[in-house]
Symmetry: C2
Subunit: 342 residues, 2 copies
């Protein structure tokens, strides 16, 4: 089967790359959440043994990569490429985490869509025959994100009801030209969507139109519908964003209510942990995918998963200048079988 | 000819993508420099008609893309992908510039290596058959970079002799599966290299080891030597970094002195414009490539160019925390002929 462009945004992979290994790591809050048992490591120390939170985030990412390599019986030198990024200014979570690994590196910035973007590009590089093994990785950290985007944690800032909690987590997925699956069968690259939302405490509403745009493009290009997937998972829209996406599709006569979830609603017990609208941060969808989802697929819980993390491409500066929030969503299909239905 | 991995970092493209169109735009300083006549547009207004410098940088990037589309007789809808990024926190120069174009978008962060990284990935996507047309773009802006990385411009901060001047410039290169060249024949993906330099006013010294690492890997993988290229061009190492790279290679018995230049030394008249060690910023190598270099290749000035922009993957936060400067360099070969010698 030839690699085939389906519409403008979607590629059906001719040689679907296989998940070879994956790992995730979380912090204290993640360890108190309902997905705790799906983590490879939970570290109650928010510094991850380092001196600063930023260095801690790098250390966490390094450990996720090391763990994924170890679980796959691999060395850093086995990887042809790594595609990674994070939320920190200049993506220092990633550049410092990778400093000692000596792996050819393409740095990405897709905000919280990074896990989707990195898997999409890694899959295309593998399908194109440019690599045998490639890793996709990202992270986020509550304390580094609060300090950078909002207020330093010790300030004790009041959170809005629509606010989400940045996950302290990292996930790494190693894909290979060979393997026993799950396989990445389709990639849908997102476009920037900005419907004019300016409230930085309501990222779910800002990103929901991007998720809708990419998912709708994906369904149309592949001729599939929600029922063709066992699980559809957006990144970290949280409760409100999840509701908006569901409603958008209902307007189109498409019912997402049976199998559509959001990583931001899965990572924490929203009520018991007082998490308001849910989890967010690159590490949220990365940790949910590289634990709960891929373990579940290996245990035949789901055969076909549409994974579509979303990112809000704003900065504090753009918000101070009164700008709205451009968002993006990249989607990939994981399937237990090499061939998709299209 | 099959696409071939040469060593771990280098890919020889089986179907070398062609440059289809390119454009660049610069500001006042760039207009006073020796490459002024190689710009498509020079704008003396540092706001580019917008209200803030950040919005100005986005406007500049949009214009570079529009100009490249226009010169190629293309519409935004003709592009299958755009790969782009910039220096601003969360890459807002790019996300806001692309908001109205509706082009499938992969966001990159490679600091000043972004022009090399974006061309490398666009070329791989084209060679892999995933796209017919893909754009690679980046920008930088003196005023946004000073404010973010150093001091707000009105402060009148004293500059160190080793400091470089961030270019106010943007460049966009549209590559296609078909075209009359120049062609991208090889891609060498960089690894992070950090030799412990901590002086943020000496980026040239920090990035030179990364340039050396990638160029050495490229020469070895392709079995080429400096004399096989008409021009070898690093990104924005400036005077000092250029000297270090030249010296590193001399130690290996490789003489780079005949055809090796650096974009950071070409953009300005370093003495007359008082530019200290040279130009820097993503926009520097982007503007030099998408004007001086590609126009020169189309005029048969050079047949084979090795373009290797470098990026310093630090942030002000990492420097405040005493960290050294991880750097990277991505290299691509532009050739007038479809086939490289290897």
């Amino acid at each position: 089967m030839q690699t085939k462009r389906l519409g403008r945004q979607t590629v059906r992979l001719a040689r679907p790359p296989s998940v070879v290994s994956f790992a995730n790591i979380g912090g204290k809050m993640e360890g108190n959440g309902p997905l705790a048992s799906y983590f490879d490591e939970l570290c109650p120390d928010s510094f991850f043994g380092a001196k600063t939170w930023e260095q801690g985030e790098s250390a966490m990412q390094s450990r996720a990569l090391q763990k994924a390599l170890q679980k796959g019986g691999l060395q850093p030198s086995d990887l042809d490429f790594i595609l990674a990024g994070d939320l920190l200014n200049q993506c220092i979570g990633t550049s410092f985490s990778l400093r000692d690994f000596q792996i050819p590196f393409f740095g990405l910035y897709g905000a919280c869509s990074t896990m989707g973007e990195s898997i999409a590009l890694a899959s295309l590089l593998l399908d194109g025959g440019f690599a045998h093994l490639a890793a996709a990785m990202t992270s986020s950290h509550y304390c580094t994100a609060e300090r950078q985007y909002r207020m330093p944690v010790p300030y004790g800032n009041q959170r809005a009801p629509t606010a989400q909690w940045t996950a302290t987590a990292s996930g790494c997925c190693i894909l290979g030209a060979q393997g026993d699956g799950p396989y990445v069968t389709h990639v849908t690259c997102g476009k920037i969507v900005d419907k004019g939302i300016t409230d930085v405490n309501n990222m779910g509403a800002a990103m929901a139109p991007a998720a809708y745009d990419t998912l709708a493009a994906h369904f149309q290009a592949t001729g599939t519908a929600p029922e063709d997937y066992d699980l559809i998972l957006t990144g970290d829209l949280g409760v409100l964003g999840h509701e908006i996406v569901t409603e958008f599709f209902l307007h189109d006569g498409i019912d997402m209510r049976h199998n559509y979830h959001d990583c931001g609603m899965l990572l924490y017990d929203l009520e018991k942990q007082d998490m308001h609208a849910g989890a967010s941060g690159c590490g949220c969808s990365a940790a949910v995918l590289n634990g709960y989802v891929l373990r579940g697929m290996r245990q035949n819980k789901w055969q076909r998963v549409l994974f579509a993390p979303t990112g809000a491409l704003l900065s504090p500066t753009s918000s101070f200048q009164g700008e709205s929030i451009p968002s993006i969503c990249h989607a990939v299909v994981f399937s237990a079988r090499k061939e998709g239905s299209n």
